[in-house]
Symmetry: C2
Subunit: 468 residues, 2 copies
């Protein structure tokens, strides 16, 4: 948002005229730092506008910091120009080692000229913006509390009702007492880690896994161990061996569509995995954030287990909006209670009420299922198309996923992914090199591509340049 | 939100007719659990509506969990009724010790029949809802990214620009690199504690202090020490003695209007306090959340210190909206960098972009200053009125604050605040007993009242009943 657009929206043309007149006096130094502005009455008379118009103009200039109000004595030109806001570009392009934060920060702070085939979300144009706009406008007409109040400690009852129905569709029967809304999917995992982990505790992840799991676990000072991923879930023999040898307290995974590999957990692996977890009393966080992208639901650990030692988490950031945000936790009711306390202590609540109610409205509207179907079709076309393009430059998908937007790929012989990512950044292309996903640092020749962000020809050109 | 209001808004009357027809068949058992619903084509023909109308009706019923879609084979009645959502009342009225969470949970989960003189926020009707509605509608018209994307790692540039101007008005010059938006004010403190504290570290608070500081510090396993509060800030001689004896790593306080006492830090105390902090290399978090309620700005530690060892945090939840939420941190630029990483690791970003841009729009609009003036006037009238009423039942304010909505009060001789809070809850009145604010448990005869929530005659009646 720019201040100009705010002005032009909420102020009339007369307010804008007064603001322009003051700006002109400032620019020409007719009014200098520290000087008093004309009184509201005098300026209103001089410009032939109402005093209210001048008040509005002064308030806006004060909100920008150009002038300042002194109680009882009028408005003054600010003593000094404000320190300038640095440009987004210069904020985001600090030299820095290629670690999980490198990918997050380069992707999140990318400007419009930067291409982000390494990012973990869909382009804004793929999201259901009309449905979101309708829901927002509808909410804005509602009574005050939804706009102003904190909301209950478990979060929107409407959104929890939607979640109950969605989970039931996956074979997971969760009572209301088993659901808690959180500010985001990541925050859901963070709260659970705060409840379960002490510094030095061992946590198991897949190799490779979503890179932010590693960043989060390092923030908790956990000891991280990993098991190689196969196309049907973690290598189950090795999984059993690691549980026996390392006794991890917790395992974090995506079951449906695994990030970054796109693998799908098989029912047999799920069954053995849960038995091993039971034998060694290990808790599991199942991150279902990509679940809606599946062509048909695959087994959920939470469904087999009945939400006993498995905690299911998710959010709507990948399919609906990452700007109007909420995550959620489905878990044993006796775990939800301390999680509510932790969320109060560390955030005084979860998602904003307005965001949660907006999401509920979109999800209960009739258009969401159609949107998801369209996304699936669009991605099903994009995956083989992008895979073919990558193969033409010698980059090979590790497997062809059943759904979603990630392709986990092997680079040509002799290519180091971090060098290529570093070189591509000079061409304004943000890549996701394999080892940021790998606790064991076993993925130096791998890279994750987001097929929804791979259409621009400059990407393949930058890749070829970087690989030679 | 109810599903009914969502239906009536976004669907046409034909969709509602189809939904009603299906509900009737379910209620009369013409369609039982597990049975297949009529095909879309057949029902559309039978009811004289378009197939799209039936699809929309089925999608809504599926979103509610009443029916389920099976890919390729149509829609079926859900196998079993969903587990019912428990009523908000039964969720919130668990027996529980009176601790900081007791006040938070009872206040946040209060239903419409419950009175909350112990809560820490204003009634929804006191908030600038029209300005918020205008800003939301304006944002809903904007281009897609603001509705869908994560946004940059530091948060909305527009909101940070507003913050720069506000801080400059308090004598705090913060560069863009010194500002970070967070999901809430509490989360701002939490991130800073994650950066600075290790389990067992000593942290200093005021006695009394905002009760959630204590909950947060316990979540960090900090060792809490406290210094008695006076009407001009912490007892400075004791403050210096505690710093020398206990070597706290961190001090957390509100400077402008202190919570719960309403005290104002004097310039002299601020100066000595900062010198003591420098002598013992202690960091300070200054929570400015009540700053806008001051009739005129009092000294800010961050202004004296120049944001070197003082970190200023705040939010807009008390004056603008706790539903459309954002907090912020102003700190040394070399501290902002690790805080950005921590916020990515633990939440994948701060406030939703939509919320932050909405707040920026309200704050740059001309009406915010007027809103704040009106709040100040309204509260300046309410404070003595409520104080007089409390005094009539023997409850005496500890001091009469310059601004804000809290009155920190002493109960009549022999009254225990926790017993009174427990008894008042039976009359649907949520109070804030003194010891939840006191690390030293020195406030057993004190209670905090929110003057904006004290107009209902039932409150004084419940207090009198509970005190006898």
């Amino acid at each position: 948002m720019t201040l100009t657009s705010a002005d032009s929206h909420s102020g009339g043309p007369r307010t804008a005229t007064v603001i322009a007149a003051i700006r002109h006096r400032l620019a020409t130094r007719a009014l200098g730092p520290g000087q008093r502005l004309p009184s509201i009455r005098a300026l209103a008379a001089a410009m032939g506008v109402s005093p209210a118009t001048v008040v509005e103009a002064y308030d806006r200039l004060a909100a920008e910091g150009v002038i300042r109000a002194r109680r009882g004595s009028g408005f003054y030109v600010a003593d000094s120009a404000l320190p300038p806001l640095a440009l987004a570009g210069s904020e985001s392009r600090r030299p820095r080692a290629i670690d999980p934060f490198w990918v997050s920060r380069q992707s999140l702070d990318a400007d419009v000229t930067t291409l982000t085939p390494g990012c973990g979300w869909l382009p804004a144009t793929w999201m259901p913006q009309d449905a979101l706009r309708r829901a927002i406008r509808s909410l804005a007409r509602r009574d005050g509390p939804v706009l102003s109040d904190y909301g209950g400690t478990r979060g929107s009852a409407a959104l929890r009702r939607v979640l109950q129905a969605r989970l039931a569709g996956l074979g997971i029967d969760a009572f209301s007492e088993q659901l808690l809304l959180t500010a985001s999917g990541t925050q859901a995992i963070d709260l659970i880690c705060r409840m379960l982990l002490r510094p030095g505790d061992t946590v198991l992840v897949d190799d490779p896994c979503y890179f932010n799991f590693l960043a989060l676990l390092r923030a908790h000072q956990a000891r991280i161990v990993s098991v190689p991923m196969t196309s049907t879930g973690p290598d189950i023999a090795e999984f059993e061996a690691v549980l026996a040898a390392e006794r991890p307290r917790l395992y974090i995974t995506n079951s449906g569509l695994h990030n970054p590999t796109g693998a799908t957990l098989s029912l047999q692996t799920a069954h053995r995995l849960l038995n091993a977890a039971a034998a060694h009393d290990m808790t599991i966080i199942e991150d279902d954030i990509y679940g809606d992208f599946e062509p048909e639901p695959s087994p959920r650990l939470a469904a087999l287990d009945g939400l006993r030692r498995v905690i299911l988490i998710g959010s709507f950031s990948k399919t609906l909006s990452a700007s109007v945000r909420s995550g959620y936790i489905a878990a044993r009711p006796d775990w939800i209670e301390p999680l509510i306390d932790l969320q109060i202590a560390t955030g005084f609540g979860g998602p904003g009420q307005f965001a949660a109610e907006t999401l509920a409205q979109v999800l209960t509207g009739g258009s969401y299922r159609k949107h998801i179907e369209e996304l699936r079709v669009r991605l099903a076309r994009a995956r083989p198309r992008v895979a073919a393009r990558l193969q033409r430059v010698g980059i090979t998908p590790w497997l062809m996923p059943r759904g979603g937007f990630h392709l986990w790929c092997r680079l040509p012989e002799g290519c180091a992914a971090t060098d290529i990512a570093q070189a591509a950044l000079a061409d304004d292309v943000v890549l996701a090199p394999g080892n940021v996903f790998s606790a064991a640092q076993s993925a130096g020749a791998m890279m994750r591509f987001n097929v929804a962000h791979c259409e621009d020809a400059r990407i393949m050109a930058a890749l070829e340049r970087a690989m030679t």
